[in-house]
């Protein structure tokens, strides 16, 4: 995910492992083991039982829950709205986060560290609390809603509370620090001189940024986007608190089925469908990264 930097001694490094003691090959396995066990117990196992639950109807195996979902335009709309929320939130955090992360990473001032802490400060406050904060601003009398009206973007009576737009704004704020942090790390790992080299070779600063820095940051940008996207489509607190009943998304529907209606098999089916979308996305993402490796090696 980190952008490649020129490795001066690359051709020699492979040989080093071969000449090392026999113990070495087992070390990676041992290092992976704790993580894998935790992952298996806390993620894979529950996930499999969730999947199993989604195929139960009454006392027998059934695909009824999936049929119900697939055969009903309402649920497609729900899924579509969820994915839309994910995409739009990702785009907003990317557009806002990219310049911030870039400037922070390139900043030489000693304020840079302080500003980074400020940027990530919201992470220390739970998403629920932040969503409550937005609620205050989003009610009809709230600052943000009034501002929207004052700017002529909406006619009164208007409030962002209980709207999809409100959810998008709040969610973008909740997830922005994650995007900034991810991109900050990526930009920090890209040598500033590469951009200067491009400029000295005749590239305008914007072109140098595009051809070199952003190109090298592509993996990290994809990673940050995937992170924000998957959190945006699965997050519950913000859509539930800010969106209320009208911004119904997959997560709130899963909650409704699990908690309010106790229809766990259908909730499991909804969760599995959402998971499939995240997995597909992660796979596509992996392919894109692989594809990048191929273009690099291409003659």
């Amino acid at each position: 995910m980190t952008a490649a930097r020129p490795v001066l001694d690359a051709p020699g490094t492979d040989g080093a492992a071969a000449s090392s003691p026999r113990l070495i090959p087992y070390v990676p396995v041992l290092l992976f083991a704790p993580c894998f066990i935790i992952y298996a117990v806390l993620f894979i196992w529950p996930q499999l039982s969730l999947l199993a639950t989604s195929f139960v109807d009454g006392n027998q195996w059934s695909v009824a829950h999936y049929q119900r979902f697939l055969g009903d335009g309402y649920y497609w709309e729900l899924l579509g709205r969820t994915l839309f929320l994910g995409v739009i939130t990702t785009v907003i955090t990317l557009v806002l986060g990219l310049p911030v992360a870039y400037l922070l990473a390139r900043m030489q001032s000693r304020w840079a560290g302080f500003l980074l802490v400020i940027t990530t400060f919201p992470l220390l406050v739970s998403a629920v609390v932040r969503s409550f904060g937005w609620m205050v601003l989003f009610f009809r009398d709230g600052l943000v809603s009034k501002l929207v009206v004052a700017l002529g973007l909406a006619s009164p009576p208007f409030q962002l509370m209980y709207t999809m737009s409100g959810v998008v704004i709040a969610l973008a704020q909740v997830l922005l620090p994650l995007m900034v942090l991810t991109l900050y790390g990526v930009f920090r790992s890209i040598d500033r001189d590469l951009e200067l080299a491009a400029m000295s070779l005749g590239a305008r600063p914007s072109l140098a940024l595009w051809l070199v820095t952003l190109r090298l940051a592509r993996g990290g940008i994809l990673a940050g986007s995937l992170l924000v996207f998957s959190l945006a489509i699965s997050t519950f607190a913000t859509p539930s608190l800010v969106g209320g009943a009208r911004a119904h998304v997959m997560s709130t529907a899963i909650y409704e089925q699990t908690i309010e209606l106790l229809n766990w098999p259908f909730a499991a089916a909804l969760s599995s469908i959402l998971l499939v979308f995240v997995l597909v996305l992660a796979l596509v993402y992996g392919r894109v990264l692989e594809g990048r490796g191929q273009t690099e090696a291409r003659p």
């Binding site: 490649a4 690359a10 590469l194 080299a197 000295s200 005749g202 072109l207």
Partner: protein
């Protein structure tokens, strides 16, 4: 003049990274910026490249004032200390980068890249990525990338510092050959005096942000203008001396090795003044002497093959003199032996303090 740099300065807060840097460089000339770490070499080079905005001064190339221009409009070829090769582009793509930005047609571009690959002995590596190259190969790609655009100035920031000693010398000479062939006006930064002396036409010795002396390697070595330059370039023996007499522009000096008569200019050398003399180790003659007659005793002999460094402790005071001899001319010289030392007046350099 090809390049004129006038009174260039850079101030960070109240720290002067570069002060009052002026130099004129002729077409095809190669000038080295030499100096200890932190003396402002990189800062100067980056001001010429356009990455750092000067606090004062002008940079004029071929009559065009570049001072306010952004880097991409300066037409400079820059070789970075860490090469800064684009890791996602192949060798050929790296080299073609500048040509693409200049809109060179594809056919011409391919020819020029191919020629450059041949010139820089990178044949067969065109499709490799930088990380698949050795350090020396990467360095050659970096140079090729800067040269191929035919820049009006070639700037190199410690281009050899990541190479091992052997490769450093051969690469340096190779670069020099190509630079001559192409008639490229260049500035290169180094803190290695041997490199600077071997490659550059002229050397600008910098200290604390300021230029101490600009001149050919011979000038700087044989006629250092300041004590700093004398000390920094090569090895130097410093002797304190007193002006015994002054007759017009000729002074008689008494120092640890005897009395010398030198021509001078300026007021600083009136009778009675304390001054400093510098003599290079290879200019000191050394002879075995009788125990009570000699000026000093041999403390250490460091044999280096072609030459040997002999450290002589002078009898008066605890000053040690460095004497360099041919490696085969050590007959009669042993540690502990008493020796006599002589210097010729023409080998002495006189400093006011």
């Amino acid at each position: 003049m090809e390049i004129v740099i006038e009174n260039l300065a850079k101030v960070y807060g109240n720290a002067h990274a570069v002060r009052d840097f002026s130099v004129t460089i002729a077409k095809g000339e190669m000038v080295a910026l030499l100096g200890p770490s932190g003396c402002g070499k990189t800062t100067t080079l980056r001001m010429v490249a356009g990455f750092i905005k000067p606090s004062a001064g002008r940079i004029v190339v071929r009559g065009r004032d570049l001072t306010g221009l952004p880097p991409h409009k300066r037409d400079t070829g820059l070789v970075f200390q860490n090469y800064a090769l684009f890791p996602h582009l192949t060798v050929a793509e790296n080299i073609a980068f500048g040509l693409r930005r200049r809109g060179v047609p594809a056919a011409e571009r391919d020819t020029r890249v191919a020629n450059m690959i041949a010139t820089m002995q990178l044949t067969g590596l065109a499709d490799r990525l930088p990380r698949q190259l050795s350090g020396g190969q990467q360095q050659r790609v970096a140079v090729a990338r800067a040269l191929v655009i035919n820049p009006s100035i070639l700037l190199l920031d410690e281009p050899f510092s990541n190479l091992d000693a052997k490769l450093r010398e051969s690469t340096g000479l190779e670069l020099r050959r190509i630079q001559r062939e192409l008639g490229l006006t260049s500035i290169f930064v180094t803190h290695d005096q041997n490199e600077a002396m071997a490659i550059a036409d002229r050397i600008a010795v910098m200290n604390g942000g300021a230029v101490e002396q600009i001149g050919s390697a011979v000038d700087i070595y044989e006629r250092p203008r300041t004590r700093f330059v004398a000390d920094f370039i090569g090895s130097a023996n410093f002797l304190s001396a007193t002006v015994e007499a002054r007759d017009g522009n000729v002074v008689t000096l008494r120092h640890g090795l005897g009395v010398s008569v030198l021509p001078v200019e300026g007021q600083a050398f009136d009778k009675g003044r304390s001054v400093t003399l510098m003599v290079r180790p290879e200019c000191v003659a050394i002879h075995p002497a009788a125990a009570e007659a000699g000026l000093g005793t041999i403390e250490t002999i460091s044999y280096q093959g072609s030459s040997a460094h002999i450290f002589v402790k002078l009898r008066d005071g605890d000053r040690t003199m460095l004497v360099e001899r041919h490696g085969r001319e050590l007959a009669g010289l042993e540690v502990g032996k008493t020796v006599d030392l002589n210097v010729k007046a023409q080998d002495l350099t006189l400093f006011a303090a």
